[in-house]
């Protein structure tokens, strides 16, 4: 290809004028087209984190159990006995909107590769997916495609999908979100990293062949959408889960001995970013002969080879003399294996094609010298608290409100989705989707790992700082609720256009909120990813940071679930209810009121109450537990009733000022627990000792949810409205 590189060509590659002059200045010449492509791939937002880097430094990333924080393929935490958990969440938003099946499928494939690249066998998948309003004509097909894509990939690999989150909001009409998370198990003495070391070490290409799919994928994910979105389809990669399964087994087989020096998967920006990152981390040069790269199509140019985002490929730096041994393993699994180059002392990336050097760029220009922006941003003021006219509440019927909330798209049961995900393969899933967190056993041990994904776009949009704190707390509560000690989190930061002050401000303040809460709770961030430019025709999404939390249950027989267990047991609400309705589902769905601040977050209470709940669970004093989140107490209790097929008689609550505020308010740091009568004294003692407020909510009964003559609803009726919405929506 002999395209003359000009400023216009650079702009077509997603670089701006200043960036192009900086490249020419650094190189002291005009780059050729392949070199320009490499710069554009490394300097785009997706790979360079140029808008976010400054603020990501504020995150709390260290802790006693942290083996690897952000900066590697995934984060790693120690769970004792030489076992470690490798995990990360990643976005695949832009491709999933363009082509939902392949976009979502390759999102799952990509995150699994990030985990097994480090030597871990994936043991669980999760996902957080967000769609436009159900009335939007694209929503149904996007949802169907995304769910099929996630299932199609994860089911084939044979890794259970154990939990997830689905939401609908019109701000996602033009940009859906697909965030995929994977957890893997590794021996902490056998972890593999991407840092190259040693000169003249063979660089090996393994996996699928390189095709013309996904070219410019990373640049596409670093731009907003317009009317010409259909034209972007070729930038979406195509997944092949079968090859990934073979690649997984082959890599783990090769990792069993000491042949590998460094390994990196070819994800965004394919061969370009994997080779540059490995060389950069090792402060080395790398020389590749592109004629040796296995290609799926004929006559692929260096430009195409370097930009292709074909899936299921890995780059390995091997010890000298191990080539034959490694090749034997990849032959057994029928995968391509090719020595394509070597490490050098030049500190440059040098590419050879048809015996000619087609690229020569100092590595530091691509990595350390990549632009970093200190973008302008605007603080979001805490909105004024609303004064609800409670006289209007008189016209409401509390039973109807409850039913409407239980069938709300964001509250209703998502069985239609998780039935399509294999959630039991590997034989260790002890808590399936639909609870507070998914739980898998650490194979062959008494330990179990709990994981949950959470986000609250409404709260974050109303006040990003509070919203950022709130999601970390929600993740913490979800893990506590199943009896797990929270260990660490991964975050997927989905935002609009960072070049807009408002969006950048949302990002900065959400990150600050996440940092503050995770530091206070000793719940560090060990990995993550940033997705900006979730914007279509000038309209951006609500700020949606997603938190993936991971916790440890020392002995899995102590795990708790949320469904009510036994008639006659006592139900407590633990934590204080102030009745905060602003930004609640009740305010939005029943009162049609979208303003006001999110519930405030008190980190002391979160920590104190969370740790106390964990103590109650570990001492076997409570038999079920559930955190109170969207929809408040009555929603939470109803879900516990529905899952357990039991009713509850709610007491006539003393000093209740307003039942709507009490039952539907979304105050934080609250849990609902079921306590056998004989344990009440001990539970009270522990709660009082820790100065924790609690309400004796009621007693479990056979059939109905009842309260003071105001509510008397059979469980079947609640169950029907709760379970029907999604299936009904998809079938029509």
């Amino acid at each position: 290809m002999t395209i003359q590189v000009t400023e216009t060509v650079a702009i077509e590659h997603g670089l701006n004028k200043d960036e192009f002059s900086k490249i020419c200045e650094l190189l002291k010449r005009i780059p050729n087209i392949t070199e320009l492509a490499i710069f554009s791939a490394m300097w785009n937002e997706h790979c360079s984190y140029k808008s976010s880097r400054k603020h990501l430094k504020k995150l709390h990333t260290k802790g006693k159990q942290v083996i690897q924080g952000p900066g590697e393929n995934a984060g790693i935490v120690d769970i004792g006995d030489d076992d470690a958990i490798v995990f990360k969440i990643e976005s695949h938003n832009h491709p999933s909107f363009i082509e939902p099946y392949q976009g979502a499928a390759t999102g799952v494939g990509g995150i699994m590769r990030d985990v097994f690249t480090m030597g871990a066998r994936p043991i669980a998948n999760l996902n957080s997916i967000h769609f436009g309003s159900p009335q939007n004509k694209k929503t149904k097909n996007l949802l169907r495609g995304v769910v099929k894509g996630i299932g199609g990939y994860g089911n084939c690999i044979g890794v259970p999908t154990i939990a997830g989150q689905t939401s609908f909001d019109e701000s996602y009409n033009g940009n859906i979100l697909v965030n995929a998370m994977t957890l893997g198990l590794v021996n902490k003495n056998k972890i593999f990293y991407s840092k190259a070391t040693g000169l003249n070490k063979p660089v090996i290409y393994v996996g699928s062949k390189t095709g013309r799919d996904g070219i410019h994928g990373a640049s596409m994910a670093s731009a907003t959408f317009d009317d010409k979105i259909e034209e972007k389809k070729p930038t979406v990669q195509v997944g092949d889960p079968f090859t990934e399964k073979l690649l997984l087994e082959a890599c783990l087989e090769l990792m069993a001995d000491n042949s590998i020096i460094a390994i990196q998967d070819m994800g965004a920006a394919g061969l370009t970013s994997s080779s540059v990152e490995m060389a950069s981390k090792g402060n080395l040069g790398i020389e590749l002969n592109l004629n040796k790269v296995p290609c799926r199509e004929e006559k692929m140019s260096p430009y195409e080879i370097m930009l292709s985002e074909s899936q299921e490929r890995m780059l390995i730096i091997l010890e000298n003399g191990k080539e034959d041994h490694a090749k034997k393993i990849f032959d057994k699994w029928n995968l391509d294996f090719s020595v394509i180059g070597k490490t050098t002392s030049s500190k440059k990336i040098e590419l050879i094609f048809n015996n000619t050097k087609v690229t020569e760029i100092p590595i530091n220009l691509l990595a350390e010298n990549a632009p970093v922006y200190d973008r302008k941003w605007k603080k979001t003021k805490l909105p004024q608290k609303l004064k609800f006219n409670k006289d209007n509440f008189k016209y409401l019927n509390i039973s109807d409100c409850l039913k409407k909330i239980l069938s709300n798209p964001n509250i209703s049961e998502k069985k239609w989705i998780w039935d399509q995900y294999d959630h039991t393969v590997m034989g260790d899933t002890i808590q399936k989707p639909g609870g507070d967190a998914g739980v898998v056993r650490v194979h062959g041990t008494k330990k179990a790992i709990a994981a949950s994904v959470d986000s609250s776009a409404s709260y974050c949009s109303s006040h990003p700082l509070t919203g950022g704190k709130q999601i970390v707390c929600e993740s913490w509560r979800n893990l506590i609720s199943v009896g797990a000690k929270p260990i660490a989190i991964t975050n997927c930061l989905n935002f609009g256009n960072p070049e807009k002050e408002k969006n950048m401000g949302e990002f900065v303040e959400c990150v600050e909120g996440i940092a503050e809460a995770s530091k206070y709770l000793d719940f560090p961030v060990v990995s993550g990813n940033v997705s900006f430019y979730n914007e279509t025709k000038d309209k951006g999404i609500k700020p949606t940071p997603t938190i993936g939390g991971v916790g440890l249950i020392q002995n899995y027989i102590n795990m708790t679930t949320m469904e009510f267990k036994n008639i006659g047991n006592i139900v407590y609400v633990i934590g204080k209810t102030e009745g905060h309705l602003d930004q609640s589902i009740f305010a939005k769905d029943i009162l049609n009121e979208k303003k006001g601040p999110p519930p405030s977050v008190n980190l002391f209470n979160e920590k104190n109450i969370g740790e106390t709940i964990l103590k109650l669970i570990e001492n076997k004093l409570v038999v079920s537990s559930h955190d109170v989140s969207l929809g408040g107490i009555l929603t939470a209790v109803s879900k516990m009733c529905i899952k357990g097929n039991k009713g509850i008689k709610i007491h006539d609550l003393k000093g209740l000022t307003n039942k709507y505020e009490y039952f539907f308010g979304e105050d934080q740091a609250r849990y609902i627990v079921e306590i056998p009568k004989e344990n009440i004294k001990k539970v009270n003692e522990i709660l009082n000792k820790n100065l924790i407020h609690f309400d004796d909510l009621g007693i479990i009964q056979e059939k109905n949810v009842s309260f003071n003559g105001d509510i008397n609803l059979p469980i079947e009726e609640l169950s029907d409205v709760h379970k029907y919405w999604l299936k009904g929506y998809m079938d029509n």
Partner: protein, 226 residues
């Protein structure tokens, strides 16, 4: 008792099956698809998964694999061959069992607990099982059993239907049929009843912390009958 589990590229329930067999006392060996022969075994298991990616009809490439001749010889000599999920699909593709497994009626992958009725106990797999109805787990996209009327008549006449989908009371109706299978069929035998193919995964139901424990009954019983 000795068992062998065949691993095809793309199998993903091979380890789960190995764990289950060993838990109930089998001495199990894993056998690679490219091997020529299978060690001496009392039972051969074709596990679930997506053999060779299942990019053609499910199980069709596996039915032409190198190891499959040994499986067929073993089955024809009366050896016990159990195919679960993808294993069942492979057994129909080899012709060891009649019929085919089509895509699920509602075109979605289904992962959930189901009830199945044990239709025949005059065989080594279900003899002495006390329960009539088992709670097992399915996870498949192509489990919709279909066969010709003649084949169905043979299956019925020879009591070759092993298990059928039903509700918790044993009623075999449309509502309890998860995938549209003919006559709610979840699993069948060959004529000699040494070969069993079924969609549900007993290996996922082997302790009380999992989806249930009826899989334990299946394995304990099978071992006892050998």
């Amino acid at each position: 008792m000795k068992s062998s589990v065949i691993i095809f590229p793309g199998s993903n329930c091979d380890r789960d099956m190995d764990v289950a067999l060993k838990k109930f006392g089998f001495k199990n060996t894993m056998v690679w698809h490219n091997d020529q022969s299978i060690p001496k075994s009392d039972l051969i298991v074709l596990p679930g998964g997506f053999s060779y990616g299942d990019y053609l009809r499910c199980g069709s490439i596996a039915s032409k694999s190198k190891i499959i001749h040994s499986v067929i010889d073993f089955a024809n000599s009366g050896g016990l061959v159990l195919g679960i999920c993808n294993g069942f699909q492979i057994l129909t593709e080899t012709g060891l069992l009649p019929g085919i497994l089509q895509q699920n009626k509602y075109l979605n992958f289904i992962c959930k607990n189901v009830f199945v009725k044990v239709k025949d106990k005059n065989n080594k797999y279900f003899k002495n099982i006390k329960k009539e109805i088992l709670e097992l787990h399915i996870a498949h996209n192509e489990g919709n059993f279909f066969c010709t009327e003649k084949e169905l008549k043979n299956l019925e006449d020879n009591n070759q239907i092993a298990v059928t989908y039903c509700n918790s009371n044993g009623l075999e109706d449309d509502k309890s049929n998860p995938n549209g299978a003919t006559k709610n069929i979840a699993g069948i035998f060959n004529k000699n009843k040494n070969i069993l193919g079924m969609m549900p995964h007993p290996e996922r139901m082997i302790d009380k912390y999992l989806s249930g424990e009826d899989g334990s009954l299946f394995f304990e019983n099978l071992l006892g009958n050998l």
